[in-house]
C-alpha cells in the first residue's frame, strides 16, 4: 500500500500547478472589482484562451506566441465586457454571464472545427529543477520543482499587489472603486480606469487559460470540462482574499489543495471501498471549502463600495 508521507508530498506538489490558473484569474478579477466592475465571464474567457493558445502553440511550435495569443483573447473579451458594462451600462452580472456563454461556445466551436483535420495537443512546459533547492527532502519536490508559469503566477501576484497598494496608479484604482464621485472631482477619469482594470483583469484570465494548457494539461476539452469551474472559484477567491492580490495567493492555494486532495485520493484507490460513486464526495471538497470559508470570514469582507454600480458623470 502507499505511504501516507509520499501521498502528502504528492498532494502538496500537485496543488501548485492546480493553484496557478486560479491565481492568475483571481488577481485579474481583483483589479476589475477594485475599480468597481464585476466580471463573471472569466470562466469562459479562460476556456476560449485555452483553446486559442493550444492551437497557436501547436501550429507554430512557439510557447511564447501561445501565451501571448491567450492573453490577446483575454484582452478582447475584456474590452467587450467593459464596453457593455462601463460604456453602455447594462447589468454587470448578466453581461458577465453572457460573455461566459459566448467565449465558451466560441472556444468549443473553434476546437470542433480544427479537430476535423488534426488533433491538438502540446507537451506542457517542463518543470525547472531549481539547483540545490530542489534536492531538499520534502520541500524540494513541492516548492522548487515547478514550472516557470507557476513561479510567474506568484511573481505576478506580488507585483500587482505592489502596484495596487503602493503606487499612485493603484491609489486611483481603489479610489474609483470606493467613491467614484470623489475620484471624479479629483480629476480621475473614472470610466477609463474601469476600462483598463477590466481589460487587465480579463487579460490575466486569458493568461490563466493559456497556463492551464501550456503549463499543466497540454490539451483542450469541450463543454467547459477543461476549466471545470476554476474560473468561478477564482471569483470566490477574490472575496476571501478581501480584494488583495497577496491574500489571493493563499486563497487560490486553498482551492488548489482541495482539488489536489480529491484527485489524488481517488487516484490512490483509498476511496474505492466506500461504495460506487463515493468519489463525488471528494470532487465536492473544494466547493465545500468555499462555502465554509465564506461563512467563517464574511465579517470584514467589505467589497469596494461601488462594485456593480455603473458610474454616470452628472
Amino acid at each position: 500500500m502507499v505511504s501516507y508521507g509520499d501521498l502528502t508530498i504528492s498532494i502538496l506538489a500537485a496543488s501548485l500547478p492546480l493553484t496557478m490558473p486560479i491565481l492568475y484569474a483571481a488577481i485579474g478579477e481583483v483589479y476589475a472589482e477594485r475599480s468597481g466592475v464585476l466580471n463573471m465571464g472569466i470562466e469562459g474567457v479562460m476556456s476560449l484562451s485555452a483553446f486559442v493558445s493550444l492551437w497557436v502553440t501547436f501550429s507554430t511550435g512557439s510557447y511564447p506566441y501561445g501565451l501571448l495569443s491567450g492573453m490577446a483573447v483575454g484582452l478582447a473579451m475584456g474590452g467587450l465586457h467593459s464596453f457593455v458594462t462601463v460604456r453602455i451600462g447594462i447589468n454587470q452580472l448578466i453581461a458577465g454571464l453572457m460573455v461566459y456563454f459566448l467565449a465558451l461556445s466560441l472556444g468549443d466551436f473553434g476546437y470542433v472545427i480544427v479537430t476535423k483535420t488534426t488533433y491538438l495537443h502540446v507537451r506542457p512546459i517542463s518543470p525547472v529543477q531549481i539547483p540545490a533547492l530542489s534536492n531538499l527532502p520534502v520541500l524540494g519536490p513541492i516548492l522548487f520543482s515547478q514550472n516557470v508559469l507557476v513561479y510567474a503566477s506568484l511573481a505576478v501576484a506580488l507585483l500587482l499587489g505592489l502596484i495596487l497598494f503602493r503606487t499612485t496608479w493603484g491609489l486611483k484604482i481603489r479610489a474609483v472603486g470606493e467613491n467614484p464621485e470623489a475620484a471624479d472631482s479629483a480629476g480621475i477619469n473614472v470610466n477609463l480606469v474601469r476600462h483598463l482594470c477590466v481589460i487587465t483583469g480579463s487579460t490575466l484570465a486569458g493568461l490563466a487559460g493559456a497556463s492551464l494548457v501550456l503549463g499543466y494539461l497540454g490539451l483542450y476539452a469541450t463543454g467547459d470540462t477543461l476549466v471545470a469551474g476554476r474560473g468561478w472559484i477564482a471569483i470566490v477567491v477574490v472575496i476571501f482574499a478581501r480584494w488583495s492580490p497577496y491574500r489571493a495567493i493563499a486563497g487560490a492555494w486553498v482551492f488548489g489543495l482541495g482539488y489536489s486532495i480529491a484527485a489524488i485520493f481517488i487516484g490512490s484507490g483509498l476511496f474505492s471501498d466506500l461504495g460506487p460513486g463515493s468519489g463525488y464526495f471528494l470532487l465536492a471538497i473544494p466547493y465545500i471549502f468555499a462555502i465554509v470559508f465564506i461563512l467563517l470570514f464574511h465579517r470584514g469582507t467589505k467589497s469596494p463600495s461601488s462594485l456593480t454600480v455603473p458610474y454616470k458623470r452628472k
Binding site: T117, H121, I199
Partner: protein
C-alpha cells in the same frame, strides 16, 4: 451629447481600439482556417464530408453519439464509420453528436418519423432508450454498440455484445506483461460498468498469463469528463505504484491520463481508435475495435434485404486487435511480436480462452 469632454472621448477610443483588435483577430482566424493544411500525421484520418454529394442510394442512416468526438475515442470512431458508409454505399447519413441524455428519445423518434431507415446508437447510455423506441418503430432497423449485455431487444435491433473488446485487451495484457520493467501496470476506467469490466479482466488475465508477478492497478475516477482528475490520478499511479504502462479507458478524463503519461514518459495503450496522435512519443499501441467488421455485414444485410438473418441478435465477435506500434516498433522485441501473433491465432482457433468475466463493482486495488 456623448462627447461631453475629452476624457469621455478617450474611453470611447479605447473601446473602439479593442473592438478593432477583435475584428482583426477574427479575420486572422478566418484566414488561418482557410489556408491551413493539415500537419503531417502518422496515421491518416478520413476526412470525408458528412454526406456524399450524390447519394446513389435512398437509404437513410442516422447515427447518435453521446459525447466528445475529438479524442479519437468511441464517439469519433462512430462518426468515421458512419461517414465511411455514406461514401462507400451512397447512404444518406445524418450524425447527431453530443446527444444529451434527456434528448435521446425525442431524437430517435424524430429520426424515425422523418423516414430514416436505420438508426445506430453508438454508446451505452442509449441502451434503455433504444430498446424502447425500437419497440415502437418495428419498421426501422436499429443498431446498438459498443457493448450490450441485456436481453431485451426486438427483432428490428442488432446489438454488439459486451465481450467484443476482450480479445484486444487480452493481447494488450500480454504485450504489457512482457514490456513492463517495473512489473506494475495501470488501468484507468472512467466509471465502472459491468459491461466495461470484461475489458479489465481480460487485460489482467493477459498480463498474468506471461508475467504472473506483475501488479495490475486500477483507478476509477468516477467521471468521463474531467481531464484534471485523469491527469492527477495517472500521476499518482505513476508516482506511488510505479506503473510504467497506462491503459486509459476514460474518454475526456483519459485525455488527462494521456497528458500525464506523456509528460513522465510513461508508456500508453490507447483505446478504440489509434490514439497515437494524442501522444506520438508515448503511445505504444491502441486496442482497436474493428467496428467495420461488425457494421459492414449489417449494412450488406440491409441492402440485400436479409435483415431477418441478424435481427434480434446480440453478436459477440472478437473485434479487438492491436494497432500499429509506431514509435515503439523498434523497441518491442521480435520475440514479443511473435508471441502476440501466436496468441491472437490461438484465440481465433480456440486453443487460448480469453476469460469473459464481469462484476458489478470494481475489485479492490492490490
Amino acid at each position: 451629447m456623448y462627447f461631453e469632454n475629452r476624457k469621455a472621448t478617450s474611453t470611447t477610443v479605447i473601446a473602439a481600439v479593442v473592438i478593432v483588435v477583435l475584428i482583426v483577430a477574427v479575420a486572422a482566424v478566418v484566414l488561418a482556417t482557410g489556408s491551413k493544411t493539415s500537419t503531417t500525421t502518422i496515421t491518416s484520418i478520413s476526412t470525408t464530408t458528412a454526406t456524399s454529394t450524390k447519394p446513389s442510394s435512398s437509404i437513410k442512416l442516422a447515427l447518435l453519439v453521446g459525447g466528445d468526438t475529438t479524442d479519437d475515442g468511441l464517439n469519433d470512431q462512430g462518426v468515421q464509420v458512419a461517414q465511411w458508409i455514406g461514401s462507400t454505399y451512397g447512404w444518406n447519413v445524418s450524425i447527431s453528436q453530443d446527444v444529451a441524455y434527456s434528448n435521446q428519445g425525442a431524437l430517435m423518434t424524430s429520426y424515425a418519423q422523418e423516414g430514416y431507415n436505420v438508426i445506430w446508437a453508438d454508446g451505452n447510455q442509449f441502451i434503455g432508450t433504444t430498446e424502447a423506441i425500437a419497440a415502437q418503430f418495428p419498421k426501422v432497423d436499429f443498431i446498438m454498440t459498443p457493448t450490450y449485455d441485456g436481453d431485451n431487444i426486438t427483432k428490428n435491433v442488432v446489438a454488439l455484445g459486451a465481450q467484443n473488446q476482450a480479445t484486444g485487451y487480452y493481447l494488450a495484457g500480454v504485450l504489457s506483461g512482457k514490456m513492463t520493467k517495473t512489473n506494475a501496470v495501470g488501468v484507468v476506467i472512467g466509471q465502472w460498468f459491468a459491461a466495461l469490466s470484461y475489458e479489465f479482466y481480460a487485460y489482467q488475465a493477459g498480463v498474468h498469463s506471461v508475467n504472473p508477478s506483475a501488479q495490475v492497478y486500477l483507478t476509477v475516477p468516477g467521471t468521463w469528463s474531467d481531464p484534471t482528475i485523469g491527469y492527477e490520478d495517472a500521476t499518482t499511479m505513476i508516482n506511488t505504484n510505479h506503473v510504467d504502462i497506462l491503459v486509459p479507458i476514460a474518454d475526456t478524463t483519459g485525455l488527462g491520463v494521456i497528458s500525464a503519461a506523456t509528460v513522465t514518459n510513461t508508456t500508453l495503450i490507447g483505446t478504440v481508435l489509434d490514439q497515437v496522435q494524442l501522444s506520438p512519443t508515448s503511445m505504444m499501441t491502441s486496442v482497436l475495435l474493428n467496428m467495420t467488421a461488425f457494421i459492414q455485414p449489417v449494412v450488406e444485410h440491409i441492402i440485400n434485404g436479409t435483415w431477418s438473418q441478424i435481427g434480434g441478435q446480440i453478436q459477440n465477435l472478437n473485434l479487438g486487435y492491436l494497432g500499429p506500434f509506431h514509435a515503439y516498433d523498434s523497441v518491442i522485441p521480435a520475440t514479443v511480436k511473435a508471441q502476440l501473433t501466436q496468441t491472437a491465432a490461438g484465440i481465433q482457433s480456440g486453443t487460448i480462452k480469453v476469460p469473459f468475466n464481469n462484476t458489478q463493482n470494481p475489485p479492490s486495488t492490490p
